[in-house]
């Protein structure tokens, strides 16, 4: 009796591991199948099943003629100007609204840093419809442009951000309808996208920049997980002991989590490599100069060098772009700096003799060089002495 019980327990243990794996696998398969079925239903309901029409890609000259495009056998060659901007014109077919995906193929590895779609209607100011910080090293950009199409323009301008003076070749651009296959391809594309660190990184992490919410990797995998779990609960009612929905759910969750995490780790590795390439082996000052705020750092250095150290000067920082103002103020600390978010400098009555004012353009403040007076937005004035000017940064001392 006892032996039989032990044998039974041993066989249960022996069976437990494959059963757990099987349950997990089944949860995943069922989840994926249900997700694909739902996508199919959605695409039938919203988007008709037709062969996508072709998109015409044409050369476009910049106003200054610096950026140029040339039609070649391989595709449209886009040459970046000195500021790293490349342009092309896109003419959409009649029923473009039915096709929410735009596939842009590049010959060779991508060196595209950013891509934007703007309206290109003759005589009208271009409107931004779509912008993406494009990942490097991918030769296909698979973009969800459904919202951009709502802009209602059939002629578009493609703005590419490239290394200055470089050239890329755009192969024929294609519209894609929403089908399960295209959707899965887009999810795969999203999983292989990598976006660099940004100011928003501590606020949120966006696993995919250009996906509809239901195809964002985290949400899509969550849907697969939930659909699989629900299906397993129903199936277990039918098949009894063969399945274990809870254990299956745990295995499925771990697998899906690992997929998402591998992708995130890959991105993390990419970003750390980028950081190392920029900052590794440099001293403090060189690191700051190697960063994207080189000009601000240099200007702050020069400002510090002209400030008197005998008395503790008050320094007011002003810019219409709050990020610029905030960063300049930061670089000037530990001096006694005043910077106010969302507000231009207050009126002249708040200033004392020998206060310093740092203006970063664009700014609502203006300098009247004839009278050496700063003009406030309300037309009041403050007599100042120009002390220093470098590019868009200027330093004044209050008289």
């Amino acid at each position: 009796m006892k032996t039989a019980s032990v044998n039974s327990r041993q066989s249960q243990r022996f069976l437990a591991f494959p059963r757990v794996l099987l349950s997990g696998l089944l949860t995943l398969i069922l989840g994926i199948v249900i997700a694909i079925a739902l996508l199919q239903v959605y695409s039938f309901a919203i988007f008709p099943s037709e062969l996508p029409p072709s998109v015409e890609l044409e050369p476009l000259l910049a106003a200054d003629g610096a950026s140029r495009t040339v039609m070649t056998e391989a595709g449209l060659a886009v040459y970046a100007d000195g500021r790293g901007r490349g342009l092309a014109r896109l003419r959409l077919p009649e029923h473009y609204l039915r096709y929410p995906f735009l596939q842009i193929s590049l010959k060779g590895r991508s060196i595209v840093d950013g891509i934007a779609l703007r309206t290109a209607t003759e005589g009208a100011t271009p409107r931004l419809l779509f912008a993406l910080q494009a990942p490097r090293q991918q030769n296909i950009l698979f973009l969800w442009v459904s919202e951009a199409w709502q802009g209602g323009a059939q002629e578009l301008r493609v703005d590419l951000r490239l290394p200055p003076g470089s050239r890329i070749i755009l192969e024929p651009i294609q519209l894609r309808q929403l089908s399960p296959l295209v959707a899965l391809r887009h999810v795969f594309y999203s999983l292989t996208q990598s976006s660099p660190w940004s100011q928003a990184s501590p606020n949120f992490y966006r696993a995919s920049q250009s996906s509809p919410f239901f195809l964002k990797p985290a949400f899509f995998t969550a849907c697969i997980f939930m659909a699989g779990c629900v299906a397993m609960i129903f199936l277990s009612r039918l098949c009894g002991w063969m399945l274990s929905p809870t254990r299956g759910a745990v295995v499925a969750m771990l697998v899906l989590w690992t997929v998402l995490d591998l992708r995130w780790q890959w991105e993390l590795l990419n970003n750390v490599q980028q950081t190392m390439a920029v900052y590794w082996g440099k001293d403090e000052r060189q690191k700051q100069l190697a960063g994207p705020e080189r000009n601000l750092v240099l200007a702050a250095e020069e400002i510090r060098s002209v400030l008197t150290t005998e008395s503790e000067p008050r320094i007011f920082v002003s810019s219409s772009i709050e990020f610029l103002g905030m960063r300049m103020a930061y670089y000037l600390f530990p001096y006694n700096v005043f910077w106010e978010r969302d507000e231009p400098l207050r009126g002249p009555s708040y200033f004392q003799k020998d206060d310093f004012i740092v203006l970063l353009q664009p700014s609502e403040m203006r300098m009247n060089t004839a009278t050496n007076e700063l003009l406030f937005p309300d037309d009041s004035t403050l007599p100042v002495i120009p002390v220093f000017g470098r590019g868009s940064v200027a330093l004044f001392q209050v008289k």
């Binding site: 949120f204 992490y205 964002k216 939930m226 745990v250 995130w264 700096v337």
Partner: protein, 467 residues
């Protein structure tokens, strides 16, 4: 000489923290090495800020010599405290290894993966100059000034600054607590000057402390080391948490760590009713307030945890409902300029903003900041509701977290801070305060289910209900 000074100034408070953690562990009945090292790192960093506060209070400049002196004194005091504590019993050491080769392998793999990731994040944090928005707007601004002046010189509002004589400074949030800038000052004192990269070290230490605390705490609370290791890996893999180590300088990671440590102490107290864990929870509650203003609200939820231990659950729920009603009444009756934890009622602009809910959902479930944590937490919540036995004895964690989640939802759907969810500026950062603790609760629930029933939830049907 400079290297020795740096090492001493960085290590002395950490060593003091370790000794303090050991003293604490001796006073408690259960402990393990991970828990002691995690707590030690946390204590050490907080000790460093206390030393700087003391130096400033005594009007002694932030000189390395003074810091070393006070650090040494703190270490001696901690050793005296350790010797005064009752010596440990061997039986109280909770092992951190598994029962089988496969379990040990799993633990090893998880810990190795975490070590690699932390090394990667440390590389990023220590190579990149400070660049986060909040860091350069209101944390490092204070740190630079305090380091330069060698004292905690006052920061006042913009309006006050304009009419003040010299000697006062201002930035965008002059009334924010000083712990975060002081951590940066600590690194500055060690280096003998400001460094845009070295000041990030405390964030790497915080990440390490969080993971050790989580793992050690979960094992202490009854999870098997293998389960604890897996969940520690899941926690350590969260993109937003990783970003807060890489993009060092924000207060949220430290606050989340502090809140987790406080809840763990409360859980220990609810189990053995020893005084030391309760004292630690109270101290950490105060510390949370000294890290970020929001710490006040999370600390107040700890009271609900104490009540959950002392009062039967039904009575507690009634009390909480009455408390919420009274609070709602206060919000209506109190004058608009009434200020709590740095926020006046007028500034909160109370009013329902349901349109923030989809944005909140997007931030927590769609974008990817938390991988699948949102779904996992929902699943754990459903299991908790369906099988309350899994939560037995965990009311001390569940109730404060429930209250904290209610506060979180209130903040983003009923105050002007809903823009934080809509624009994605703060919903995730505030969630980071709670996420380690939510994960901790989930770990304990799941480990109970796994280890007691092999995740065959049917077996829980006959288990006793939560009391």
């Amino acid at each position: 000489m400079a290297a020795t000074q740096y090492l001493l100034i960085v290590c002395l408070p950490l060593l003091g923290g370790m000794v303090l953690a050991m003293s604490y562990a001796r006073c408690c009945r259960k402990y393990n090495k991970a828990n002691i090292v995690g707590l030690g790192l946390l204590f050490g960093m907080l000790l460093a800020t206390l030393i700087l506060r003391l130096q400033s209070g005594l009007q002694l400049s932030f000189q390395p010599g003074f810091f070393l002196l006070f650090g040494l004194l703190a270490l001696v005091a901690a050793i005296v405290l350790l010797r005064a504590c009752p010596s440990r019993e061997l039986s109280s050491v909770v092992p951190m290894h598994g029962h089988s080769f496969a379990q040990n392998l799993l633990i090893l793999v998880c810990l190795l993966l975490l070590a690699v990731r932390l090394a990667l994040l440390a590389e990023e944090a220590l190579a990149r100059p400070l660049s986060g928005w909040d860091v350069t707007m209101h944390w490092a601004t204070k740190a630079k000034v305090w380091l330069d002046n060698g004292a905690l010189v006052p920061f006042v509002s913009n309006d006050s600054w304009l009419i003040s004589e010299s000697g006062v400074f201002t930035d965008h949030h002059p009334n924010y607590p000083g712990t975060i800038p002081l951590l940066q000052v600590w690194m500055g004192v060690a280096l003998g000057g400001w460094s845009e990269t070295a000041v990030n070290l405390p964030w790497v230490l915080t990440g390490l402390a969080l993971l050790l605390l989580f793992f050690g705490g979960a094992v202490l609370a009854g999870a098997s080391p293998a389960t604890a290791a897996v969940f520690t890996y899941l926690l350590g893999s969260l993109p937003l948490l990783n970003s807060h180590i890489a993009f060092a300088g924000y207060a949220d990671l430290l606050l989340g760590t502090c809140y987790l440590a406080a809840l763990q102490a409360l859980l220990l107290w609810s189990g053995n009713r020893n005084t030391p864990p309760l004292i630690l929870a109270s101290l950490l509650a105060v510390t949370a307030m000294a890290i970020k203003n929001e710490g006040f609200f999370w600390s107040s939820t700890l009271l609900a945890g104490v009540m959950a231990t002392l009062i039967p659950i039904r009575r507690l729920l009634i009390l909480l409902a009455v408390g919420a009603a009274v609070l709602a009444l206060f919000l209506v009756v109190l004058p608009g300029d009434f200020t709590l934890a740095g926020h006046s009622l007028t500034r909160l602009e109370l009013g329902l903003r349901w349109h923030a809910l989809p944005a909140l959902f997007q931030q927590l479930f769609v974008l990817g900041s938390w991988h699948l944590a949102g779904v996992m937490l929902l699943a754990a919540l459903l299991i908790g509701l369906r099988y309350p036995a899994a939560l037995k004895g965990l009311g001390v964690l569940a109730i404060p977290l429930l209250v904290a989640l209610a506060m979180y939802l209130f903040l983003f759907t009923a105050t002007r801070f809903s823009y934080g969810a809509i624009h994605g500026t703060s919903a995730n950062r505030i969630a980071l305060h709670l996420m380690p603790s939510l994960f901790f609760l989930m770990t304990l629930v799941m480990s109970r289910l796994w280890e007691q029933t092999g995740l065959d939830l049917g077996e829980l049907e006959s288990a006793p209900q939560i009391d």
